[in-house]
């Protein structure tokens, strides 16, 4: 029915959503201003450049080759780790749903991996795999946990009266899964996929610190070691912005799924 809303209604909604977002926009504005002022007046020392310097570094055509190469490497690792992690998480959630005795064991296993800090696992990864694969691996690991938790709790979320309904209709277990539990779980899975975006970036960047040949994480480390402060901050800003945009996009997906299935 959303397609039928009239133009005035849409404009009114747009106005309302702008009004709702005003505090957030003001907040972002103040943040940028504070960054700029602290940098300009050297309030936090030499390692805090004004925002304008960082943006200047980002838009300078001389740096574009370096930045796009780093960003595309990182994004590729994020995408790969995210997909692998989401795939494994969903697969494990399905597996414990279809084979319940495995539930307790896999729950513990996944929780164990989660409580082990990625930093502590990194040395193990370094001796196990090629260093370019480490960002993907750490990213996938973190995403797996989040999606597994979201999907298992979503699949458990069917309401008592709906379960009763499927019982009196004489539904087989797989029908109950497909027609009830799967649609019930979708909003939780969509939320998990949204929350997994920043987690995927974090995992990838941390992974890149362990000797990746390229990537935004590497720019951060080398910027720090060689005192290339604007480059360090530019890499941080670029990572944050990309993560934010993807997070917002997944938020839209989440809202659409929420509307459709809840």
């Amino acid at each position: 029915m959303a397609g039928l809303t009239s133009l005035p209604t849409r404009l009114r909604r747009l106005k309302r959503s702008c009004a709702q977002r005003a505090p957030a926009l003001i907040g972002i504005g103040l943040f940028c201003l504070a960054w700029q002022l602290i940098g300009s007046y050297r309030l936090a020392g030499l390692t805090w450049p004004p925002l304008s310097v960082v943006i200047g570094y980002l838009v300078d055509p001389d740096h574009h080759r370096l930045l796009t190469r780093a960003a595309s490497t990182t994004l590729r690792a994020v995408a790969l780790g995210y997909l692998i992690g989401a795939g494994i998480g969903l697969f494990l959630a399905l597996a414990v749903r279809l084979f319940r005795p495995a539930r307790a064991g896999i729950d513990t296993f996944v929780a164990l991996i989660h409580v082990t800090p990625a930093i502590a696992l990194a040395p193990v990864f370094m001796i196990l795999m090629h260093r370019d694969a480490i960002p993907v691996a750490i990213c996938a690991l973190a995403v797996t946990y989040l999606i597994y938790v979201a999907a298992t709790s979503g699949l458990d979320g069917a309401k008592r009266h709906h379960i009763d309904l499927f019982a009196v209709m004489g539904a087989r277990p797989w029908q109950r899964f497909w027609l009830l539990e799967r649609p019930t779980a979708l909003p939780a899975i969509a939320s998990g996929l949204k929350l997994a975006i920043p987690v995927a970036f974090m995992g990838t960047i941390v992974g890149e610190w362990f000797g990746a040949a390229r990537g935004l994480g590497l720019l951060m480390v080398s910027g720090m070691q060689n005192f290339q402060i604007p480059m360090l901050w530019a890499a941080v800003l670029l990572t944050t912005l990309t993560s934010l945009v993807l997070y917002a996009l997944m938020g839209l997906v989440e809202r659409a799924v929420e509307r459709r299935f809840a």
């Binding site: 309401k159 009266h161 709906h162 009763d164 309904l165 499927f166 019982a167 009196v168 209709m169 004489g170 539904a171 029908q175 027609l179 009830l180 649609p183 459709r260 299935f261 809840a262």
Partner: protein, 262 residues
Amino acid sequence: MPDIPQTECREAIALRAAGKAFALDDGGSVVALDGIDISIREGEFVAILGPSGCGKSTVLRLVAGLETATSGTVHIEGRAPAELAAHHRLGVAFQDHALLPWLSVSDNVALPFRVARKPVARDTIARLIALVGLSGFENARPSQLSGGMRQRASIARALALDPDVLLLDEPFGALDAVTRRHMNIELQRIWSARTLTTVLVTHSVEEALFLADRIIVMTGRPGRVLRDVAVPFARPRTPEALRTAQFHAMVDDLTRALEPQG
């Protein structure tokens, strides 16, 4: 079950000394039903009246196979209730409609077809939706309907597969008097067209007298059968039958039976 020649005497539903105790979290238990004996013939329409919390829904849940009796037995056609459900021959309208929020009204009504893996009979669904007065709302989602409309949709769903046993738990609770009367008259038409063993839980004495062949009055804590009254009015019953002196006398009698003993 022994073969009994007269089909109209065949017993469809039998509760023998059926009791149900629920275990509570604190280790105690609550006796919802205490040795209930109810026998319902094939094609008979039985209404259950009783104060809130006396165990009416529990009786229906036992018959639907959603609960198992802690003492005594419950049989449908001499077999376990779950067998009827497994053969998709049971229709249930729950106290809380239990519509799937992500499906339209017509898809909700079509759900039993999908579960029974039968081709979806679009004309049957359209007819049932018209019967419960929801024509024009085929594509609406449950969230867009009023409480009474949701209840009516769930009645249409319960009738979708033309079940042999129909269980209705206060299906008209949220309807106004006029719609309720209209539904009663419409549904009486279905029941006159075919043999359909029905158990209706209701709080309305008039509704029970208008629709049922027999009325069972229950008392609470623990639930027991207090009265078992045959309804003498000939069928088809017209709204005029509701105005006779005999009807009013029975309403008074049953209403008094429902009042708490003092």
